[in-house]
Amino acid sequence: MAHPALAHEPLFMMSHEAPGKGAFDVHAGLSGTRGTNQEQTALEAELTLGLARDVAAEILLPALVVQQQLNPSGRDTQVAVEDPALTLKWRFWNDNQVGKKYAAAAMVRSTAPITGQPPTVTVGISQGMESLSWYYFVDSRARFAPTSLQQGPGSTLFADMAGGWRPYLHGLDDTDIVVFLETNYEHRYPDQQGGLSMADTGGDFVFVAPEILASPSNRVMFKTGIQIPLLQFPTGAQEAEPLRFVLKTEIRF
């Protein structure tokens, strides 16, 4: 599942954007994994609300997830609904300059347990800069596995950085294109089952993610990116990491 991405934010990490008081944005699209024997495709929709100048709420609606297991005899397909999630973000520092802004934000995210799974909480902190030509972002996040988890992935630590470039600044009614390159690091603790850590799970992983963000007007943006496994240091014997992709549209109201 991709992380909520507002405006010119990288797609696989958190960022410092806050849309301002009264904002209402709708995001919709696809994310998923490919490249292994288990493929996943999620149809997602998100709402972003500007609660105050520096406070935003992001509501991830229940995603429709299609999972396909590739077998020698064919494909086993399962369709499921994923828990919705609520993210609160607070931009606690910003420095606005002509054509440039620096900011830092903290966020907390929790899933809502409508499918019977206990909620998963993620906290993070981010800092970055946006300008007319260049962008950079760094963040650190921790996703905590529920203590009551009977079976599922363990906690994960994330550290990410991204750079962005706008080749040309067009006018108000021209298509604006920005490209990003993200680098994502994940440290995964072992999966849990019945209160015990499972063997052959967890490890350290590094990804690289090229992305394109195109806004044909100042109210619509198309975003796409692919997260490619670069380095993998799994604990024990594990399947290779899949490729992750995101294809989204954001509309501002």
């Binding site: 024997n37 002509v98 054509g99 802004k101 009614d173 007007s217 100042n218 490729l243």
Partner: protein
């Protein structure tokens, strides 16, 4: 470290092709919106204020600022010069000019910062009232106080003349909106 599997390479190619096709299908939506065109067509008209705003880095992000101004019901057109960090507003017909405090508050709530550098380009008639000069606005409500300046001192035209007054805007508690003319031009 594990080697990347062959299915991963094939998947990379498939996903890349899918994303490219999706973007191609979305191409019609990449056309400019009617709203953006309308804004630019309106940009040369009427009563205009230009603010210097810090933090503007792209048009998409700045839509929040446009929305906030439009929601206020006080403006008829909005334009941005990203390179210079300038926001131009035409205030709506029948409306008095917004106070500088109101403008700064709207900008702040949208996540940006307005400097104390506001330029006005206002149309109206220069009139005398009890020794002070005002610009009676056309296509807007009310009048604007004019501060003494070489351009105003040199103005000898009639109050019947429709003029364009440009200059910086200042405010204080007694006069929330005052223009110090740097030029006064007869427009008809």
């Amino acid at each position: 470290m594990r080697q990347r599997s062959a299915p991963l390479t094939r998947a990379l190619a498939r996903v890349s092709l899918s994303l490219a096709l999706s973007l191609a299908l979305a191409a019609p939506a990449l056309l400019p919106t009617a709203q953006a065109k309308e804004i630019q067509q309106d940009a040369s008209t009427s009563q205009r204020l230009t603010l210097r705003v810090d933090g503007l880095a792209c048009y998409f992000c700045a839509y929040g600022l446009e929305r906030a101004f439009r929601k206020s019901g006080r403006i008829s057109a909005f334009d941005i010069d990203m390179d210079k960090g300038l926001v131009s507003l035409d205030f709506a017909a029948g409306q008095p000019p917004p106070s500088l405090a109101d403008l700064k508050k709207i900008v702040h709530q949208a996540g940006y910062d307005a400097r104390d550098e506001v330029e006005a380009a206002l149309r109206g008639h220069v009139v005398d009232r009890t020794g002070l000069r005002y610009l009676e606005l056309v296509d807007a409500t009310g009048s604007v106080a004019l501060a003494a300046s070489p351009a105003l001192d040199a103005w000898t035209g009639s109050s019947d003349s429709l003029v364009l007054v440009t200059g910086p805007v200042t405010s204080d508690e007694a006069t929330p909106f005052r223009v110090t003319p740097t030029s006064i031009t007869i427009t008809e």
